[in-house]
């Protein structure tokens, strides 16, 4: 796999690769994708789902429930005066 391709894939996946990783993963992915190419000749069915079994379309009642204490969730995050702290957006 070309160096630019792997760099683009890594950018989309939010990964920064070192030069060594880029070389190593290029080679690994090339071999795996070559193996995947046998799917081109595989017989496939026209009708297929996203899951291996039939799934019921389940909806829960639209009612307010509080199963987990929000205070507890906030305590696990990086906070400053009850605000969640995160990286810069702009």
């Amino acid at each position: 796999m070309k160096s630019e391709t792997i760099e683009e894939v890594a950018r989309i996946a939010r990964l920064k690769l070192t030069e060594t990783e880029r070389t190593e993963f290029s080679k690994d992915l090339e071999e795996v994708l070559e193996y995947f190419s046998m799917l081109d000749e595989a017989p496939g069915e026209k009708e297929y789902g996203l899951n291996p079994i039939e799934i019921l379309d389940m909806l829960r009642e639209d009612e307010v429930r509080r199963e987990i204490d929000p205070e507890l969730l906030i305590r696990m995050m990086d906070t400053f005066e009850e605000l969640v702290r995160g990286p810069r957006l702009v």
Partner: protein, 425 residues
């Protein structure tokens, strides 16, 4: 084999049994790190449904078992928290990704290990560690509280020293759960004994097997035929050879989206510089804390879903999965189970694993992947010993027929003696 263990076993004897949970199942009283450095310090505020159900049934959770990072591995060598060693030979692998769970089931008497399988992560370590591992039908056990790997593939199951232990506790964890809609379409679990008449052995599964492992499997089939009066039939399932690439496409595609949530904000470790732009912040946390195999699979999955490749890989893999389901259904119409060896070799030495390329590791899963891809229930039972190491036999049945598997495993245990390290033979 444990990534975290209870400090002290409570002295009161109100607990009816003890169990452990693979570290990708959320637990309120232990960290849940799924073998990944990126989840270091994560303490969920709730229990996964299978864990809470076992606790309600009187189980004592004694610890969390080590695993390949997010389930990415065949040998349990991809954990951020050490490598569990095979109880039969510490120079060899436990198998992955539920390696810690299999080692605990092997070493601790009367212990129940909750494991999780996406592409064979219960069968493989069960085979390498000489224990029984049941992977239920996709959707039979709630995935609520499970750290997702591949949502359309993940299944919570049980590893233990015998099928009877699994049979006792499986009904507790099975059943619909409104918190996981995929568990809500299941029929009632039926564990009544049924007549087992016929076993199908796919010809495709007998290729590329180490000769001693193949001999051990064939001897097991002879015992089944001679002592249990079960007919053995050779069949062909041509689509089996396409199951492995289809599986790796789907699994890595789903994993690459699931792992997007680990960005140093909501779970586990945080970045050390919030003045960075969010893209740089996320990328630096992820690059520093994901292991090599996690990165490899994220890249692979991201690539397969990219514009221009989605039809060739992802959609084709979904259609191949349907063919695999249809092919199994055809064979299982006439036979009770499909049997193969579980793994093509005995547990390899760590020195051998170091020399393997990623593609060679992926290909080692060619027997465990097909039933996982098809969401079919399967069980791995010890079926022989080669160089004092256990070999496994994997039995696959129709969707929702876990009872058939537990029944045949129980019959098998009547004619074949399992061995455990340290026990008098």
């Amino acid at each position: 084999m444990f990534s975290e263990l209870i400090d002290e076993v409570p002295s009161d004897s109100s607990f009816k049994f003890n169990f452990s949970a693979k570290d990708n199942l959320c637990t309120i009283d232990f960290q849940t790190r799924a073998g990944s450095r990126i989840l270091d310090g994560y303490r969920p505020p709730f229990d996964a449904t299978p864990v809470s159900r076992l606790r309600r049934a009187g189980g004592l959770l004694i610890g969390k078992t080590n695993m390949d990072e997010f389930g990415f591995g065949t040998f349990c060598t991809n954990s951020g928290y050490g490598v569990p060693r095979n109880p039969f030979d510490i120079e060899r692998s436990c198998g992955g990704s539920s390696g810690g769970a299999a080692a605990a089931a092997c070493l601790l008497e009367d212990h129940l290990s909750l494991g999780v399988s996406t592409g064979g992560s219960i069968s493989c370590p069960a085979s390498f560690c000489g224990v029984v591992g049941l992977t239920p039908t996709y959707g039979r056990v709630s995935r609520y509280g499970l750290v997702d790997y591949g949502n359309s593939l993940d299944k919570v199951g049980i590893l233990a020293r015998s099928s009877s232990m699994i049979k006792n506790h499986f009904p507790t964890i099975a059943g619909s759960d409104p918190m996981d809609p995929t568990s809500c379409a299941q029929p009632t679990l039926d564990l009544d004994d049924t007549q087992i008449d016929s076993i199908a052995v796919p010809r495709e599964a007998m290729e590329n097997i180490h000769p001693s492992v193949r001999d051990s499997f064939l001897r097991a089939l002879d015992i089944m035929r001679d002592q249990l009066s079960i007919d053995i039939h050779e069949v062909t399932i041509p689509s089996l050879r396409f199951a492995l690439p289809a599986y790796y496409v789907l699994a890595t595609s789903e994993a690459s989206t699931n792992l997007a949530r680990y960005c140093g904000m909501r779970f586990g470790v945080r970045g050390d510089d919030v003045t960075q732009h969010f893209n740089d912040y996320f990328s630096s946390v992820r690059s520093k804390n994901f292991g090599k195999e996690a990165k490899r699979r994220i890249l692979l999955g991201t690539y397969s879903r990219m514009v221009g490749f989605r039809n060739r890989y992802y959609l084709k893999a979904l259609s191949v999965r349907q063919t695999t389901i249809s092919d199994y259904a055809r064979v299982l119409k006439e036979h009770d189970v499909v049997a193969t060896p579980t793994m093509p070799f005995i547990a390899p030495r760590f020195s051998e694993i170091e020399r393997m390329k990623p593609i060679e590791m992926y290909r080692a899963d060619f027997l465990t992947v097909p039933p996982n891809l098809a969401g079919l229930p399967h069980i791995s039972v010890p079926c022989g010993y080669v160089d004092s190491m256990p070999t496994g036999m994997q039995l696959v049945s129709r969707h929702w027929s876990e009872g058939t598997l537990l029944n045949i495993a129980n019959l098998w245990e009547g004619v074949f003696q399992y061995r455990f390290p340290g026990a008098q033979q």
